[in-house]
Symmetry: C2
DNA sequence: CTGAAAGCGCTTACAG
DNA sequence: CTGAAAGCGCTTACAG
């Protein structure tokens, strides 16, 4: 068995209280005793039990994180920054990866409670009633990152989806496009899907353009759905001259579909994505995207949550809105420069 | 404060022992008592403390995982499967994301020990002496996943890198290529970099071909390094007609570099990757790759580790070698079909 | 079938 | 400056 504090005390010839004191770096321990304890610790290879400590201190330094899909470049980047910031603040992460399996989320929320995590970060885009209820009575600070439930009762770190989508659409309109396809996300549960859709339509109205229902589609944020939906869109007559997808993954799927049909981006169809994931630089042409401050988002999420956890929170109990930014790469071009087909 | 077992006992009018018994689903509790306890639990919203349980049971159901970069499609896919398998077996994950910061690994290993995780999974490609020593005296079952340290002392779940690289190179040779560029990985610490390099050179020798040193480069497995290295390779006269990169990420970087120089894959240069990450299907042309069984790898890693942890391990204490598989997509073509430049 | 008591490995008043 | 004792929230022999 691993040595315990008692073993250290015995070996150093002091009380466990004293060992505990040098462990916790308290003053009021004579130097020679301190040295003896330190030596005993080294010789025994003693490491204090976080379990026992947590029990008495009533503090676990644990954060629970729920990710919809760790494999997604967008979420994994946020997670990476969450981990980094948490680690910097002495917190460790219990990570739950939902993959379609919403029951798992419920189960993990229970686990989080059992483990007495000090705070919970949720990035999932779906939320059923059962989970909503559980979250409500969990009595653990919860924060949503990059997503916002339609309920007003939870705090989110998020961008202004409406304006981001509005700006992305305006960008395409400014380039001279009038037939702009839209690949949206889920319209239930989370506000992002709705707000981005409204941003798209509002930009059309403000520009005096007609909204063509046949150019509007919805996917699930993943590449394959962008591909499938684009396939349908290409059947339209005339086909759109530009496409706005509300995730980079779907935008890449759309680009690939366009490519596989013998057409070119941006010569035949301009494509703009959303998120600012690593993919934007890995595909050709590079993908122009309405970017979220992904790195900052992970950091701010943890900072805000830690504030919520602390005894006297400084921040107001409200959403944190981060700035979006359009990053131009090579997937969009003015309508006029379009090559004849 | 959250209710404790004592509160439940009081409310149900029984002893804490009895509550504990129904919590742990033991027999020997009369139905009516059981019902009373259940009700009290519901009414109080009681959730047992995993901390307290761990302390007395001497079992944490925790696994520590060290990932070099959660953001990489390859590692995040393995991690996703690790999480899935662990969860299925009632284990939770503490995740550490190293990013260049090797000190963090040392620190986390300490944390893992403090938290009394039952097992550790390491996917990092580097290992300094300090960490090696710490690992040696940690007294916690450790398993390496997808990487294998040069020391023989640790167990790995891995493919046969030598043969995989050999087969990949042979594939190119069979297609008629003779000038095959190589983008390798780190040759220190881990065996993968070395074995893949040797597989490449051996395939040349067995085919009676000359190895051209100027076509051999090394990167760090990430896209950017593939890009940079390819840039150098394109300066060779004559330039290679095919390239083998030992990671899909580097292969994609190389493809992008080729594209940015006005050349085409596979018409001008064939490219084959390694890993079988999601990227292979997201780029155009789709990337042919020597694939590792990524999904299986995560599962097998956890299964093997759990066996190691158990009281009577069934498996032998040795590496688990998984099968590699060449998956042809569209990034390679026979040398003869090459279009004239 | 049920409960009182000891103990898991620590920290923290309290006393000296 | 140092130590004996209580207690964190559970489980598990042990006795009945």
């Amino acid at each position: 068995m691993a040595p315990k504090i008692k073993d250290v005390a015995k070996r150093a010839g002091v009380s466990v209280t004293t060992v505990s004191r040098v462990l916790n770096d308290e003053k009021y321990v004579k130097d020679d005793l301190k040295a003896r304890v330190r030596r005993a610790i080294d010789e025994l290879g003693y490491t204090p039990s976080h379990i026992a400590r947590s029990l008495v201190r009533k503090k676990t330094n644990l954060l629970g994180v729920i990710v919809p899909d760790i494999t997604s470049s967008f979420y994994s980047t946020i997670l990476s920054n969450i981990e980094k910031t948490a680690s910097l603040n002495g917190y460790n992460l219990i990570v739950c990866n939902i993959i379609e399996d919403i029951d798992k989320e419920y189960k993990y929320l229970q686990v989080f409670k059992e483990m007495r995590v000090e705070g919970i970060i949720i990035m999932h885009e779906k939320l059923n009633d059962e989970i909503r209820e559980l979250i409500g009575k969990l009595d653990i600070p919860i924060i949503f990152s990059s997503v916002k439930p339609v309920d007003q009762s939870f705090i989110s770190v998020i961008i202004d989806d409406y304006h981001a989508a509005y700006d992305a659409t305006q960008y395409l309109i400014q380039l001279g496009h009038e037939r702009i396809g839209f690949i949206g996300g889920d319209m239930r549960d989370m506000t992002s899907g709705q707000n981005r859709y409204v941003g798209y339509t509002q930009a059309f109205q403000d520009s005096g353009l007609e909204i063509e229902e046949e150019y509007i589609f919805f996917g699930d944020y993943k590449p394959q759905s962008g591909y499938n939906v684009m396939k349908e869109m290409l059947k339209c007559e005339p086909r759109p001259s530009a496409v706005f997808a509300v995730s980079d993954d779907m935008a890449v799927g759309a680009m690939n579909c366009i490519h596989d049909h013998g057409l070119s981006v941006p010569e035949d169809i301009s494509v703009i994505g959303f998120d600012g994931s690593q993919l934007t630089d890995l595909v050709r042409p590079r993908l122009t995207s309405m970017e979220q401050p992904i790195d900052e988002m992970g950091k701010v999420t943890v900072d805000t949550l830690l504030d919520l956890i602390s005894d006297e929170p400084k921040g107001a109990q409200e959403d944190v809105i981060l700035k979006h930014k359009l990053v131009e790469r090579n997937s969009c071009q003015p309508y006029k420069n379009r090559t004849k087909v």
